[in-house]
Subunit: 360 residues, 2 copies
Amino acid sequence: MRVEDLVERPGAWLSMGPETGVAISSRIRLARNIRGAAFPGWAGQEESVQIADSIFDALGKVSELDGALVLKIDQLDPVDRQILRERHLISNELVDKGEGSGLVVTRDESVAVMVNEEDHLRLQVISPGINLDRLWARIDAIDSSLEEHLTYSFAPDIGYLTACPTNVGTGLRASVMVHLPGLSLMHEVEPVVKGLSKIGLAVRGLLGEGTEAAGNMFQISNQVTLGQSEVEIIGRLSEVVSEVIVHEHNARQRLMEGRESQVRDLVGRAHGILRQAHLMTSREMLDLLSALRLGIELELVRNADVKLVNELMLLTQPGHLQRILKQTISPEERDVVRARMVRERLAKLTIEKDLTRDAT
Amino acid sequence: MRVEDLVERPGAWLSMGPETGVAISSRIRLARNIRGAAFPGWAGQEESVQIADSIFDALGKVSELDGALVLKIDQLDPVDRQILRERHLISNELVDKGEGSGLVVTRDESVAVMVNEEDHLRLQVISPGINLDRLWARIDAIDSSLEEHLTYSFAPDIGYLTACPTNVGTGLRASVMVHLPGLSLMHEVEPVVKGLSKIGLAVRGLLGEGTEAAGNMFQISNQVTLGQSEVEIIGRLSEVVSEVIVHEHNARQRLMEGRESQVRDLVGRAHGILRQAHLMTSREMLDLLSALRLGIELELVRNADVKLVNELMLLTQPGHLQRILKQTISPEERDVVRARMVRERLAKLTIEKDLTRDAT
């Protein structure tokens, strides 16, 4: 299996589970480092490669990773790296690394381990919907298996040591990706974000740190990794995200009660543009797909499903688009190709009638 | 025949002739006043009514106006006045007048005479396309017939006297409504407008003085009424407008050669939105219909014709919309009803396939 074999499959962060809706996917990652080895940022080239080799070796012995794809970052072309980034399998930081860094990822993309990113190991598990308890059980098992083959840098009074102090302790970052078009239309995202940051949670856009909330997608995650147990962190996050989901449903209900025409207008315009535009940036596309997704979930649109929206979100990103086309093209050309792909994939639908019905 | 009988018919300024395209319609109006009577702005209520009566009487004797609709402005409700304004039959100034002002208009709306607007008489003839010579012959004949029954205020060395000095002399204003989406997309409208004003022509938006160019519609007219003969004024305007039309066609050709995707994008988005929006202001609608019209004229859209675009331009304006609905509604409600009407009237079309084809 090669990176390009992933392209036409649903990405793990967008795959569909029964509980997918406002909560699109959940993710837990653990930061781990090897005792006695320099952190990746301090290690020389030779040491990095040695550390990576021993880690790849250990990962090969973990049964949960049987049959996983092993990728050395320096052996991947820029488009492949971009595809992995777009599938949320690697970070921006890993994209730019060279020899001695890499990724081990299971075929279903539910488990991914970055090697020599900021830390020696970044273990990640991901699943659709909000599912943090099960994810924790899974990553904890993988972490324990791995510890049979590697000795982690660990201080009994602090916890796991990490390159950046913000990860010290549990080394755990749990996050849930939520879709909040209702709160966004009601201009209530900002107070929610402020409230969350006051209780020690972080809110980021679709593509992680420093990115805007394209498509009304927000990642909610814990900030604190020290002084709380993993189970406490996860329990707290699950609880708060459940509240946010209630807020979002509430906002959608208020919208349909008081501003149905506005919602139908947003959804109808989004569908009309997606179906007939000839130039489209990925940012605009995410925003329009967000509106279409809202329409599907509010049952304003019937002959479409969220799977198609997810597919388009992934396939129209620059890396995926170029791999499908089998050529490297400029951003301007991508806007043409992206619009065409969206037109073609939506042309199968016959959802027009739903959208042209009036607010009642 | 009453004002509401006009509603579902094409307005004269939007009616279709063989030469309609960039030039939508041509119009000539003559300002005339009755010798020895005070201008409308200075006349008292009683005098105004007397003058109006004598003018209505004279208009009744002109054979070109046989069977025309005679409307006293104070007997029309606000929606009827708005409808006449939207059909370019009366001015904003006449809309606000009371007893002693009115309109005589032929059934085909090609001849309209405002009584006691700024001047005692404002004679107007209108036709599709660019057609100023024939319009001049027609209005000149009506003017001569009318002069058999009225004595105009005229000074041999100056010409016709008018309430505002800008109309003194010929009292003639000729104008052509042109649709310039190509020049607009190429950002070349401004230099054209500047050039025209340097040679003594005025450029205004769709609804006359002080209005913006909604829907890329521009009225080009003469500024000077004194010191030139009617034939000179009209000949000059015809010549210049013909040049503007050539510029517009040239801009469209350059767009299709160098920026076809951009044109298809504009047209496709306009159609997608018109077909599926649930809220639409009249300004946005004019802009979107302008894009659709461009698409039809460039043969990017085939199963639609400009007649439908014209119909929607007229019927979705506030007065027409309210008369069709048979109730007075707020601007917010009009946005809902306007969007619905556009969706319904466009639903008959099957132009999707054309618009989803790619630029070649």
